[in-house]
Amino acid sequence: MKGQANNPRQPGPDGVDPLAGADGDLGSGLADRPLRVVVADDHPMWRDAVARDLVDAGFSVVGTAADGPSAVSRTLATAPDVLVLDLNMPGMRGSAVCAELAAAGSPARILVLSVSGEPEEVLSTIKAGATGYLVKSASREEFLEAVRRTAEGRAVFTAGLAGLVLGEFRRLGQQPPPAEGDVPAAPELTERETEVLRLVATGLSYKQIAAQLFISHRTVQNHVQNTLAKLQMHNRVELVRYAIERGLHE
């Protein structure tokens, strides 16, 4: 099964609200220094174009990588604010890159930029620690805004990604409750989080959702952020549990 969740049928503001965070100067992040970015893509034309766009917009591209392992080493060596990561690179899947970086304690935030929309791969990359996902056919402005958001630690959610995350919580919720005490219970969404996630999935912007639910834009943002944090936390706990089990049995 592949591909229907995140296809770029709409270049419009699907979840990414270009107006939402555009209050700083181009390329300037939290501090005055330009945001540092590593671009990892095995297609040279994409790698160059993305890097050029970033440089033109005032970002500092501190490294590029053409495969998974070098994406990991470049990121660890240069400690950028953001790693812009293509999903399907040789050597290592996107999810493995994210997992490696997380294991190495890298503080770099990861924005996935992909032409694919293979739902399983997108989901596992997000679970492994990426905080944003954008299809390659998004416009330059959307992309630059997404990099800025990612650097600020805000999730970049498309409608498709919201659908994947929601679906994952549904799946976890339908699993039988764990019998043993040491198995972590599946994370659950609050009613409000579910509601917000579903609205994001229908392509509404944060602003529109805020208006519809009579809550602030910031609150919508927080709800979305929380869903992602819960999923990633659960993923980490599962990994640790798996590692311990393996360790005990060997």
Binding site: M1, K2, G3, Q4, A5, N7, P8, R9, Q10, G12, D14, H43, M45, W46, A49, D53, N88, V115, S116, G117, E118, P119, E120, V122, L123, K136, S137, S139, R140, A159, G160, A162, G163, L164, L166, G167, E168, R170, R171, G173, Q174, R198, A201, T202, G203, L204, Q208, A211, Q212
Partner: protein
């Protein structure tokens, strides 16, 4: 790696191949048996030398058939003629008892070989005819209706017909298996193509799309063309809807895939990474309802409007939401239109969903477009 159009030979069928192999060995054993039974009664034979000559001819034939492994009808009709002649020779060369009662014949059981062969080639009808022919020859050899040839006849007819029927079944099974394998190869080929296209062509088209839009002017138009092709190609290789295959299996279908085929270019399908399984008949109704909703979007929200189709699997129910970013309609107007019977779409969506035991409702707000929410229970509803 396209599915090869294999010629429809029996070599494909394991069952038929095994039967032909067995027949090839049986021909030899039958000959040995005929020789042995002649040896047992050689003292009473009318013309032992000529009887042995008949066996000699059969031996040459058997050796030829063993080596050539021929399986065509022509050679086995000839074998039938030879077997008939051998049976008839009993009348003049064998012991008086055999000649008059048909107790045994010179070829023994060898004459059953062409019956089996013809049954394997032509199926149960051929097997029946061949066995009747041999029976007729055996009766003619005795010259009268007697209990011995008739009881043999029963066995031969049963043998020919049953084996023929078995061959028919094996052939049908084989054809089906071949079709399934061809389909499998087709799917594998599409998967391979999808990967290749994905890694190369789609990347390039997406790139042209984006750069074209950035440069503007004529390039932007080129970019739009690239974007259109990117979409089509993506739908072709990634969506991979094989509805006929899923209907053939007739089990639950993945609603995401069923919808993916129906969702038009201006709409986005949003779903989980896991399949959303739904009874195939139900899924078809849901797809039809979604198509009606998207139709509605085109008609009422204009061609520029975007739409999102969200599939949310709640376990016991599936919720499918269709939203557009058009101007939206007020709740009152929907109710009013439905009352006056002008909102045909309403019934074509609502009716379908309610038939499935679910419910559908419109939600709308200015600025947020129109939203249709459909709840469909997964379990069997009283339809």
């Amino acid at each position: 790696m396209t599915p090869q159009s294999t010629p429809a030979t029996d070599d494909d069928s394991l069952v038929l191949s095994a039967l032909w192999g067995a027949l090839r060995v049986f021909r030899v054993l039958a000959l040995v048996y005929a020789l042995w039974s002649i040896w047992v009664r050689h003292a009473e034979m009318a013309r032992l030398d000529l009887a042995l000559m008949v066996i000699g001819v059969l031996s040459v034939w058997t050796a030829y058939m063993y080596v050539s492994r021929r399986r065509d009808l022509r050679i086995h009709v000839m074998e039938m003629v030879l077997a008939s002649a051998a049976v008839m020779s009993t009348r003049w060369f064998d012991t008086p008892l055999s000649a008059t009662t048909g107790d045994t014949t010179i070829p023994g059981v060898w004459q059953n070989v062409p019956v089996v062969a013809i049954a394997l080639i032509l199926g149960w009808r051929g097997g029946l005819i061949a066995s009747l022919v041999i029976t007729a020859v055996m009766i003619a050899q005795v010259g009268q209706f007697d209990s011995e040839p008739l009881s043999n006849a029963g066995l031969i007819v049963m043998l020919g017909t049953c084996l023929g029927f078995g061959a028919d079944v094996a052939r049908t099974e084989q054809a089906e298996l071949r079709r399934a394998l061809a389909r499998q190869a087709e799917v594998a080929e599409r998967d391979r193509l999808a990967r290749v296209v994905h890694d190369g062509v789609l990347q390039a088209l997406a790139f042209i799309h984006r750069r074209g839009r950035d440069i503007g002017g004529e390039s932007a138009r080129l970019g739009m063309i690239a974007a259109e092709q990117e979409l089509r190609l993506r739908a072709l290789v990634i969506g991979m809807p094989l509805p006929e295959l899923e209907v053939a299996i007739a089990g639950p279908v993945d609603l995401r895939r069923a919808l993916d085929a129906a969702v038009t270019e201006s709409a986005t399908l949003v779903a989980s990474a896991e399949p959303v399984e739904l009874d195939s008949a139900k899924a078809q109704e849901v797809v039809a309802a979604v198509e009606a909703a998207l139709d509605n979007v085109r008609k009422h929200a204009g061609p520029q409007a975007q739409a999102w189709v969200v599939v949310d699997d709640l376990g016991a129910d599936v919720v499918v939401t269709v939203r557009d970013d058009g101007p939206g309609v007020s709740q009152d107007r929907i109710a009013e239109a439905a009352q006056s019977g002008r909102l045909g779409v309403s019934s074509s969506i609502k009716g379908r969903i309610e038939d499935l035991g679910g419910r559908a409702r419109y939600l709308t707000s200015p600025g947020g477009g129109t939203m249709v929410e459909m709840w469909i229970p997964k379990g069997r509803a009283a339809t």
